[in-house]
Symmetry: D3
Subunit: 340 residues, 6 copies
């Protein structure tokens, strides 16, 4: 069983029932979420030994958080306990022309306030095959940017593969700071994952004639971006998710993969959205799983896209699907028939 | 800040959770609703000083009702307290080919039984810029028809603009009585709002070759109706909402506006319905807001249609959207992307 | 008022709220369901005297089950009380590309363990016009296969019409055993109902060039199957439901009917699914109702297809619609408009 | 199996979840209730053929109401369908020093507006052994007072026993009118049931030195009242429930029975209240059941008190207990141990 | 109508349904709360013009918060909008021997980070009769301690009465700092409110032989404490709430009042707890209401204790009771009987 | 960290919300439970390495079950996956004089149908310090009785302490069979745990003049029973829980312990019940924890009784308390005060 370490923040997520707006709700559904935690849960559901590294308070909310990760099979033994707060965020689910709204309340969390040397990377990486983080972790604080660097160095030294999802969050840092810090970290990264906006926001890399806000997606443009990224940072591979939003309920979803100087495009799915948050993370998890398994690039990409397609039919951030379910979808069972 | 007075009934609304039929439910979600109250809440959400005039019982259900309007920023100081009952209504949400069902239980409500002279229109209209009512209010009782007349006269005397949504309800009165009473009130009205069936039901005005039940909508037909209405009652403007029901889940939605002898047609939205009840009222509120702001007719219509498009992605009757949200939609952000 | 007797298992059904997966849920919605019970409830909703024959435990779960059938108007006086368990099943509702999952836990139920001679068919069939069962009942146990035979003989002796929905369940028995037992029972059956897979699974009858798993439906193929079935078992009529699954949310739905050497095809509905479980049973109930009423084949088929179209917009297995609702749909009111 | 006919109003009851006040709630639990309907359900739970006579609207709320009574085994075949509204009422559950609040919205209901001659008492009383009504039914309207008289006469003519629970409701009529109308009806009544306040409110009969509002209950006082009532109206028996309210959560509960010139007092229960509404009705049902069974007065009283003690541990108005449960309690099993 | 200004933090409160522990919950009920906001809502429910001063974020959570205060009639026009976060807190309701748990997550809230000069006290105090704050507000930050001082000075200058509830929170500051800051503010305070532990925690004032943790309450001890406080800070009056915790479900509750050199003790209530959080605040509101009304000290105390007794039978922090309800209780109606 | 192995069945538990009876519910809360699983979760909450041995189906319900145990920290690596069904049970919570009802539906579960040799006890017991089972496990099937014997022998051979809770279940086997099988297993047991009825039901050991059904508990009687048990089976220690049921809401709870020829009695708690199911199991877990820690008998008993007192204030079977919470209670903090 392969071991994957992911490092980042896990938050308590709140959302009103169904399509209620926040001002209408008198109760919130709760779940736990975070880009890297989402990857860990998804990998655990695939049978991978997924260790998640974080710091959460020692009180009952921290317990609930650790319990939830443990519930879904994540190795929580490297989660530090202490500090003052668990980050939270609020999701108001959109419908039709009304987009979902996300409010983050994550500043001053235990993980953001942690010291880099609280993490014993040598112990954490024992037996590990893969290390994953996203652009959110270094954005949490300078300390966490340093911790990412420490982790990358330790992983590199042990020959562990490193993947990074660019995941730019404009509420956490400026494009300038993101560009500077992320550029420093990219030297350690083997596999880079991005959505249609990240490369531009973080590194200013944008294909000519692309306007992501308007949902104008050009295959040629994405090829150009992926190649540019790979050349600039010497990535082994670059994966990009392609979302075309028709309405808050209906999206088109596909991906491209650039590896060994080849471009691969996946099947495109027309998705009836249940919860799209965590879609990109489930793509990353699918890709890591496939790479660890040694799949060829097209197969790896299809698995990642299929997995993240299914995620968007599932409530909350975590991707609650098994390998067989993804493989059945990728194998052509796309009609959602009842399984008795 | 402009002040708008709206006058009508507010009811306690019940609906089963989700798509359950009434016979399947063991609990009902509760909210408050009513054509004119819906307009008031929507306007309050746009920052307008929205005063709502009504009468509700002095007991806890009346308290809950006033509280709810106050919660959303409506000026409730002109709501009389007393009488025996708060009208109620039940909504069973439809899906696919099964239409929603609405059961009204509003007879003998405090407002229907109120005396015209309980309302001190001079005080109510102090500082007001606009008066809005719908065809439901005079249909509640002869007393309320008289109260509408009193209000219209008082408003007219003060130079306050008056809008009326025809809103024919066949359960409340006959087409004959509606035609007679409404004709009397129309002389005071500046802006007339109607849906595709009202003009025919109330005034017998129907364009040739239109069959609203079958969803056959002809732009020419609507132009004809609007012009006819305006000429007959000397309206300053006539607005018509155009709904094309594909299924209980999917509707097309647009509007037309006739003002200064010009016809304006809005963009058409393909809506994935969350709750369509209150759609017309949110259109009216959008139009009043825009007129008060001095928007040109096309802009006013687009705002009204955009606002009512968003309403239908929101649970319950009240339109819980802010000006910026409508403007973003009208400005072209129609794909329901996540806002972080 | 016609009397229809249906015989089979009724189970306690569990499902998570909304689209939650089973591993995410902390509460389950409960309802009662079973192919023949579904038919009984649907017929009771049409005003038919619908008697349901079964055996359920004497404890509170059995009470709840009988109460629920009684609530919807079914004659429960022939439901035996005793034995150890009420069968249960779990439905996880799918969305988009993720199909619904059904887990049965029905072995050793009171009905499966009942003795054939516990049922007093002479008394049960008093005044009856129609007898309905499905391929599930004989699959429950050898005893129940025998009970089906007893019932068929008793019904036949009294000149009662018999309908059977093939309803193959691979978890209950093998295709071989199903084929053998069902062939024996088919001699008593007048009207045979099947979905697109049953004829093949139970009797090995498959039209050339049809692949039901892939949703490739050919009208000619179905004609071929229906004719084959009718000839082989001397059925008076054969009805087949045709489902084309676009996604877990969107299905096409229609039916065909073969009677008096004529083929009838129904209108096809594009359904936005609320709960598709029980769709076939509601088709059967619609057909039985129409046949009892003496409708011509095309009318009978359209009623059955319309009824089962509406069922799929309703939560849980039971079809909660009245005759007027089906007739309004069949009559052309397909747009799901609000009924006030 | 004995047949009992009860006649009165059944309403849709709303209550917030748990101890929420009405102004705090965003959903209401729904159930159906009414003094005479409560008696019918309780009797049906004891295996009695309990027919309930009423009139409810023909729409879905009326369906839901009839279904609910049918669910619990009541014979609903004499419930007329039609009229405009189903009465409703709201219960806000109290706790500690905060008492429960009940808001009735029952005026103009289908039953209150029904004509006396809509009820075919000859058919209704076919095979009946007992007729039950309460002081609420004649209070609904003059028509219903007349209908009660019709029913009493028809029952008397057939030798059917008649019981009446005085059940004074000050919101429905004045003490004066109640006294006058009820006095007229009492001539037909065999068994009179009352709580500690009714005899005083309706007939002005009050024992010296009793103050029911202060919870001062004197056995001698109740003997005096019962004897007085029996003498005045020539009742065969008089039963009085005795409630001592310590707090909204804790009540003492017992009863007395006067029959054949003897007084019987029951065991007193210390009740931890779940829902006390319907307590008196469940007492009445217990008494009727026992009298039909031919129990001696002490046994009948203990059954009635035990039944109504259990009711108050059950949510909503209907008493969901079986004969064995009451008998186990009366037999001494008062400690609420788990039954596995 | 008197006007009362209260100043402090309002938070989003989360609690699991019923008695679930935090680690067991998958949804949280939401409400809004805060010592001074609780006082404002309670006063608004008494018909007082209650203005609440605070700062909350401009996003949807801030909207929901302002809406909720507005719903209950609080004047929210002095609530500033801006800053980064709305403080939150979590309540896990205890039962029997298991005490409730409260987790605060309030650091860095908009109000804690606000500048003192953002508050325009001259405008806020226009027409005001009373100013209320608690020891929590100055504990939020040095800025807020300064703002409290500004407010006190401005109130004093206008001759507005000032009340302060000591409300020591050890998670917010040390006893030392509390003592120092609070001592500085006490010079402006007219009426001091405290519970059995505050005087000791903040000012080190403890009567001999009292051990509050063990629930040993001596009337003499409290007299000693009140007198000491009054002498030391020259208070016009001192009120102390006395809670004796028998279990998490059952508490004894009373109060004492020291004014004009006289001691007053209230009736003691035996409370069955629904939600005890906010009990002290509802006492303060009752006292302020009574003082504004000019009640004599014993009456004022009884009103305050009665009001806070009722609060503890109500979910969430806000005291949802009207004057008449408190007066009925204080007048002797303590048995929680149903009000129809 | 000590390792404790427990072996038995884990079931899916259903219960209606709050105090609803089963026939009233339209949804069930779900949790997982089972005597030995309850012990495992409780021990994991104390920081013990708690391994639970069982067999559950490979489908989603089995996943949910394993996930839930994992969530609470149990080592689930020895849970076999396979077989047909997960046992279920239904709890209807009682109140006041109405006792809780439990309906088991556990026959033919995966664990009951498992073969003894599926369990690799050598591997399971690696590093273990304690083995726990109850009288339920051998009652599931002859195979499981054999598996218990295998486990006991393997544990004994390794010098692992063995505890057994007699836990007689009359629905699973007769007293005769229980007596025979359990007598055979008792030779391996070091610590025997029982409630007030078990010793009599299983081994016919009953002190003179004790009537457990009537709640007549005599300290001398329990001493007699404990001594008798210890002598007969050569137990190192015997622990007995003593429950006195005042009502379904209020119980007295204490325990006695017999060890080294000494008798120890614990403090008695007056418990306001939230959920009493699992009380005995939480006592066992408390005792095992204390014995592993080397506590003296009185301390061990007080911890076990305190732990199980707290359990009964918690919903569902699992005891969600930490060591510090139990120690605080045992240390005297019994008043359920709020912890901020």
């Amino acid at each position: 069983m392969s071991k994957v370490v992911s490092f980042g923040e896990v938050m308590l997520r709140f959302n009103p029932e169904g399509y209620l707006r926040i001002v209408q709700a008198d109760r919130f559904m709760i779940s736990f979420a975070g880009a890297e935690a989402n990857v860990a849960v998804s990998l655990a559901n695939y049978g991978i030994n997924a260790a998640f590294v974080c710091k959460v308070p020692a009180h009952e909310l921290g317990d609930a958080c650790v319990n939830d990760l443990r519930k879904y099979g994540v190795d929580t033994s490297f989660i530090l306990r202490g500090g003052d707060r668990l980050g939270t965020y609020y999701v108001e689910k959109g419908a039709s022309q009304r987009g979902s709204k996300v409010i983050y309340d994550r500043a001053y969390s235990s993980i953001a306030m942690a010291e880099p040397n609280e993490f014993d990377w040598d112990k954490i990486f024992e037996g590990a095959d893969w290390f994953h983080f996203t652009g959110i972790t270094p954005a949490l604080s300078d300390n966490m940017a340093k911790a990412c660097e420490d982790a990358c160095k330790a992983a590199k030294a042990r020959g562990i593969k490193i993947s990074c999802d660019l995941n730019f969050r404009k509420k956490l840092w400026s494009k300038e700071k993101a560009g500077k810090v992320m550029s420093g970290l990219m030297q350690y990264v083997d596999v880079c994952i991005a959505n249609e906006e990240d490369a531009h926001d973080v590194f200013g890399i944008q294909a000519p004639e692309t306007d992501v806000k308007q949902g104008i997606l050009s295959p040629e443009g994405y090829k150009w971006v992926a190649k540019k990224l790979a050349e600039h940072f010497n990535f082994e591979a670059v994966a990009i998710t392609l979302r075309s939003s028709i309405s808050a309920n209906d999206n088109l979803w596909s991906g491209m993969y650039y590896k060994n100087n080849e471009f691969y495009f996946s099947r495109e799915y027309s998705i009836h959205i249940v919860d799209r948050v965590g879609g990109g993370d489930s793509f990353g998890a699918g890709l890591i799983y496939s790479e660890l398994k040694g799949s060829d690039p097209q197969t790896a990409l299809e698995f990642a896209v299929g997995a993240s397609c299914l995620k968007q039919s599932i409530e909350y951030d975590f991707n609650q699907v098994k390998v067989q379910e993804v493989e059945a979808l990728v194998g052509g069972d796309v009609t959602g028939r009842v399984q008795r």
